[in-house]
Amino acid sequence: MRLLKAACLSLAMGMSLSGCWNRTELNELGITSATGLDRKDKEWRVSYQMIVPSVMSSGSGGGSSGSSSQPAVHTFSTQAKTIQEANNYTNLENARRLYVSHNNALVIGGEAARQGISPIVDVYFRNTEQRETVLLFVTEGTAEEMLRMLIPPEKLPGASLAEIIRKENETASIYPSINMLEFGQRLNSDAKGAAIPVISIAGDDSTEGRESLESLDVNKSTSPPAKIKLTKLAIFQGDRIVDLLDPAESRGITWLIGKTKESVISIPFPDAEESEADSQLSSVRIRSTSIRIKPIKRDDHYVMQVKAKVNGVLLGTDVTEDLSKPRVIKQLQTQLEKRIAQEMETGMTAIRRLRVDVAGFADKVHRKYPRDWRKIKERWAEELAQIELDIHVDATIKRPGILQKSFRSLWQNS
């Protein structure tokens, strides 16, 4: 009987709980697609890009007609001493409960990046609703402004920002993507260096150009005057930004981090090595890479032995020689190997110049020479500047295609 009473009671309590626990209907959620964090007047300025679901699906199927007159996101910002407090103030101007689990992109403003972003990392690691898989971006201006921009053919700028870096990683591998979890791990490692891609406005950077991106009118033109674009790679020493790298250096760093997946590399044909301008160029798509970096101690200094295995596919060529001959392919492969080694060296030069261990060499040295590590730990930055690379690239070019000669050779030889 006691059991029965207890059961009845718990049942009654359960029923009355309805709607009182953490129940939230879908239409009470403000699903955010991107978050922006800025420092302003020594306070945190939090910007949210909230999805307007009713715009997203037009109800009668199809969905992506884009005929709606309302943008699919709504952006607003609040400011307070801490990020959490600023979050709290969002309810002053927003009817919905902000829901950040589906946040795709986190844009860090330039000022915040300069002053240190560890409070942001703390927010993401401490709370359960924020996901550590959010992709990080840095912008030189304010994040608030970036969040207001549309990325024209897409409806959700935040989601498309994340999608741009994901696709870039899979096909171009110029800027390595990084999410909050990786960033936190990097800060917590021996290397203490991290790289975050930078987004900025490309094209018409004037006020009109920027404003044109903030309204749906941008959809009316085939090529808007300004665009959001990945332009640089921000190097972080600890939680502060140190420098911005250009694409070439960034690409080298991507190789050294080991994040290169697929990419296209143009290689000059051996004969015309010196004057690249009128050389016969071929382009190779890197299909798969495997990179192993091993530290080797050589007279008190460290050499990083980089062993890379690269598989590529010939996409196009101007080479006049017969591609069916193994000698030609072999020459192309050597050329590709040289080119990749060059790119890695470019990245390494940047690392030596900045003395920031973005590639995580410190951890590798620590793991292999734990005793030495204790000694050199303090002066790792100087040590880093002296590190040499010992690069062995083993590149294979497969599938030259069913055309054995290039079209250029056809008309030149006849």
Binding site: L4, A7, R23, E25, P53, S57, A159
Partner: protein
């Protein structure tokens, strides 16, 4: 679940007047039989008083001038006897020399020789006389004889054997049971022509006097189970048995469970297959539904067609049924839980799509689901009960008004309509209707739990259901066999049905008789036409 049931139990087990079902029955015990008088008018008088003046009861006196002394009366119920045979019977009775009948020391033998009716029996007391008339026998009373004769010439209109309407198959026999127990037994006998097929009969129900036959195969069925079935049947003391469902509720193991522990079917082949695996069939007169016991949970996912089709496709279909069972039980609950509590489990695009649909819907997801589910139950019930002529009207109302229009009016979200309709369709995939109804009830409980506690609530609901499932039994057999207790030997005919030649043994848990067929019967390729034969061809 069991807590619910215990509550119900306390309701019913209270101070209930214990009524003896037999106490207000007409007493038919008369010390001295009226038949002893040997007088036709007196017997007829008695029958009239017993049977009343109903128009269907015919008490007919035969006789003409030559039979002045010895009169014959024929008593039968109109509509239960074959009229053609009846007239033959009457003609032969009239041509009978009654003097010789009376003189004969063994009158029934004499009658059998002269009257072309196979079943003749003698009745010496009043009660059986009345009873046999009511059962459809034709009673013949001859003046001067101190006993009556009953002739079995059953007839009248009854339904012919038709295709079962509830459990249709694409491949397999198309005949179903009828309302008449004799036909049903014959249908089974036609399938199992073995002397080991046995039927034991009982008559249940004080008023209805329903014939119930218990069928089993001697040697395959567990004798203890047969005895238990008989004992439970004998324990029934009620005034009426109109359908197998009455018996099912009296004899099932646990009184309080939403899950059926006795299988019912309209298909003779299903019953035959069950009996060949050691099950006991309970055939009830007056209904085409025959009961089978003991059954396990997973038998409700099998259709008789599974054994007629190729084993690969039947295994796949069983998997589909199991998935449908889970969908029918849990889909609305999971939808409610995820959309109101665990939104982070949805992919972003799906979340946005669902959120867009819910934009502007007035009801919370739980209420929306409950309303839609109840609406569907109403439509379904209406569909079963309504006259066939207005069927199309209801389907238009159901499909258009409650589906499309409700979404367009913004009352319910389109996703909810999809969820509810898919749940409803999944429910119909289950071959056994009684299992499907159990799911229907439990679904509502799970929806309420999901609406209050989210996915955790679903777990809170599922665990007691599972505990309940492993605790119930059907005639001593654990319900979840072969899953719990785990029994590998019975897995051959579980979710996956192996080919027939691999199913060498019967389900061991039910029957003690193990082997059903010889081993190593797998088909092999035979080269019937050898190469040299081809050479010889012209």
């Amino acid at each position: 679940m069991s807590i619910f049931l215990r509550i119900i139990q306390t309701f019913f087990s209270g101070k209930r007047a214990k009524r003896n079902a037999t106490q207000d029955m007409p007493s038919d015990e008369s010390n001295s039989s009226i038949l002893q008088s040997g007088s036709v008018p007196e017997v007829l008088q008695f029958l009239r008083s017993q049977l009343g003046n109903s128009p269907d009861i015919i008490l007919q006196e035969l006789g003409d001038a030559s039979h002045k002394l010895h009169r014959i009366a024929v008593c039968y119920v109109d509509g239960l006897v074959d009229t053609k045979l009846l007239s033959t019977l009457m003609r032969s009775l009239l041509s009978l020399s009654l003097e010789e009948t009376l003189k004969n020391p063994q009158p029934e033998e004499w009658l059998k020789e002269h009257i072309p009716v196979s079943q003749i029996s003698v009745v010496k007391s009043d009660g059986p006389l009345v009873q046999s008339i009511l059962e459809g026998q034709t009673a013949v009373i001859i003046d001067g004889m101190k006993k009556a004769f009953t002739f079995s010439i059953p007839g009248g209109s009854r339904r012919s054997i038709e295709e079962p309407s509830t459990q249709t198959v694409i491949r397999g026999p198309k005949e179903g049971f009828t309302e008449e127990i004799g036909t049903n037994i014959a249908l089974l006998r036609r399938r199992i022509r073995s002397p080991h097929l046995r039927f034991e009969t009982r008559t249940l129900g004080q008023y209805t006097q329903t014939k119930v036959a218990v069928g089993y195969i001697n040697g395959i069925a567990n004798k203890d189970v047969v005895d238990e079935v008989m004992a439970r049947l004998d324990r029934i003391d009620t005034d009426s048995i109109l359908e197998g469902g009455y018996i099912e509720e009296f004899i099932q193991d646990g009184a309080y469970t939403p899950f059926p522990t006795i299988y019912n079917t309209e298909r003779p082949d299903t019953v035959a297959a069950g009996m060949l695996e050691g099950l006991v069939a309970i055939i009830v007169d007056g209904t085409p539904f025959t009961l089978l016991a003991p059954v396990t949970f997973f038998r409700f996912f099998a259709s008789s067609e599974d054994y007629y089709q190729r084993y690969d496709i039947s295994s796949f279909l069983r998997l589909v049924r199991l998935v449908s069972f889970i969908v029918a039980l849990m889909l609305p609950a999971v939808y409610i839980a995820i959309t109101t509590f665990q939104q982070e489990m949805l992919p972003t695009t799906l979340l946005i799509t669902l959120a867009a649909q819910r934009e502007g819907t007035p009801l919370p997801a739980l209420l929306e689901a409950l309303v839609m589910e109840l609406t569907f139950e109403v439509i379904r019930e209406a569909g079963v009960r309504m006259p066939r002529a207005i069927g199309p009207a209801i389907s238009i109302v159901g499909a258009l008004v409650l589906g499309q229009a409700a979404v367009q009016a913004g009352l319910v979200s389109a996703a909810m309509v999809i969820v509810v309709s898919f749940t409803a369709i999944s429910n119909f995939v289950l071959p056994a209707i009684n299992m499907a109804s159990a799911v229907r009830l439990l679904r509502f409980a799970l929806m309420l739990l999901a609406g209050t506690l989210g996915l955790f609530g679903i777990l809170v609901g599922l665990v007691p259901i599972l505990v309940h499932l492993v605790s119930i039994r059907s005639f001593g057999v654990p319900y979840m066999v072969p899953l719990a207790p785990l029994d590998w030997s019975n897995m051959k005919d579980f979710i996956v049905r192996l080919p027939w030649w691999r199913m060498k043994t019967r389900p061991v848990i039910i029957t003690k008789s193990r082997y059903r067929q010889a081993a190593h019967q797998e088909p092999r390729t035979q080269h019937i036409a050898e190469d040299e034969n081809f050479d010889q061809l012209p």
